[in-house]
Structures are given as C-alpha cells and as structure tokens.
C-alpha cells in the first residue's frame, strides 16, 4: 500500500476510534476529529518520517479504543462508565503468582546469587 493510502487508512481508523471512545459526548467527539484533521495537515512532530507519523496515528487510535473510558455523573457521587467491547479489561491473576525469591533459589549474597539467573 502506498504511503498516501496508508495515511488515509490511518486517518479513517482514527476517526472510527473517536466514535468508539466519545460516542456519548458530541463536543469532545468533534474536538477530537478536528484535532485529528489538524494533525494530518500540520503534524505535531514534523521531524518524524511519514511512516512514523502513520504509526503514531494508528497508536493514538488504538489508545482511544482501548484505554479511554468516559464517565457521566448520574447523581451524587455515582458515575456511569462507558465501558464498551474494545475497552482493555485487565485481570489481577498475575499478582497471585509467587515470584521466586533469592532465598528460594538457594541464598543471597557472597556468591549465593550464582543461580539467580537460571
């Protein structure tokens, strides 16, 4: 794909991502889109190569899809979060795995750490 086409594809990807992230918030949606258009015309990092600019925009789009969740205040301290299909939902399983400590690997200092990287 030519640079021109992949730039346009990245722009399309970005516009779609703003829809996913800001579907409930027209003001921010329009602001994000106009910012994205400005970025296409006057890139904020002009020293990057076109390919790097394209990658950057695709990463912005991915970030918008996965890592932006808008909340709307309902009443008092309650907020409704717009968590959608593409929101990145991590789990906490990895913290439950015990890490092998120095002692478990047969001692710490004074040469005892020789097996540390096995």
């Amino acid at each position: 794909m030519s640079t021109r086409n992949s730039a346009l594809a990245a722009y399309r990807n970005g516009l779609r991502a703003t829809r996913v992230a800001f579907s409930q918030d027209t003001r921010v949606l329009l602001a994000a889109r106009s910012q994205m258009r400005n970025g296409m015309i006057n890139p904020s990092n002009p020293e990057l190569s076109p390919q790097e600019q394209i990658n950057h925009l695709n990463e912005v789009a991915q970030f918008l899809r996965r890592n932006i969740v808008q909340g709307k205040r309902l009443e008092g301290d309650k907020y409704a979060l717009n968590i959608h299909d593409e929101t990145e939902l991590g789990d906490n399983e990895s913290v439950k795995k015990a890490k092998a400590t120095l002692v478990a690997k047969g001692g710490g200092c004074c040469g005892g750490g020789q097996k540390l990287y096995e």
Partner: protein
C-alpha cells in the same frame, strides 16, 4: 454426549449473563444509540439508500455551498472535496448505515453513486 453438549451451553449462558450483569451501563448506552425505526430493516430500498446518502453529503460541513447533490455527484470533481474530506464523508456514511467499509473498497468510492452501490451490496447495512 448430548447431555454434555447441553451442560456446555448452560455454562456459556451463565457466563454471558454474568458478564452483562457486570456492565449494565455499557449495555444501556449501546442500545440507546440504535434508532428503533431502523432496527430490523433487511434489504434496503435503493432509492432510500440514495436519499440517505445524499442527506449525509448535504449535512457534511464543507458541502453547504454547493447544495446541488444528486445521485451522480462526484465527491472531488463536483464538491471539491480533498482526500481527507472524502475519508471524513465516508466515515459519516458508515455511521449512517452502521457498517464498516473495508479500506480497499473505501479507497475506490469517489461518488454518491459508488457509495450507494456499496451500501446496496452490503447485507449488514441498515
């Protein structure tokens, strides 16, 4: 074997309902976006598609000056849209019909007629 199939399906159901119970707000906001009038329309009428595409093109910011939009209008030649405008317009059309136009196809769509043609050929459009 049949009973194990059944068991598998109830588990699947249960996890699905548990997931939706966890995220009730997301479910509500998504349904509120869908217009009830269009929810179940299969096979769209070509004239309707054409009228809706033309409405989207007319509503597009940069085309207010040239109000003459017909089924034969070409985005670049008749409306003076550049490539960025065309991408924006196609995303607006995607949102109107609730579809996602693949990049290769989208690069080829340069007129109202071509957009109508694609939407008519896409069974998921509504």
């Amino acid at each position: 074997m049949f009973s194990s199939l059944l068991r598998g399906s109830t588990i699947a159901l249960r996890t699905a309902s548990a997931r939706s119970a966890l995220r009730p707000v997301a479910a509500i906001s998504r349904t509120s976006l869908v217009s009830p009038l269009r929810a179940y329309s299969t096979g769209l009428n070509r004239d309707d598609i054409s009228a809706r595409v033309i409405d989207v093109v007319k509503a597009f910011d940069k085309t207010t000056a040239s109000a003459q939009v017909t089924a034969d209008t070409h985005f670049a030649k008749d409306l003076g849209l550049d490539s960025l405008d065309t991408v924006e317009l196609l995303v607006a059309i995607e949102e109107e019909f609730d579809v996602e136009i693949p990049d290769k196809v989208a690069d080829e769509i340069k007129s109202v007629a071509e957009a109508v043609q694609y939407i008519a050929s896409n069974p998921e459009a509504n």
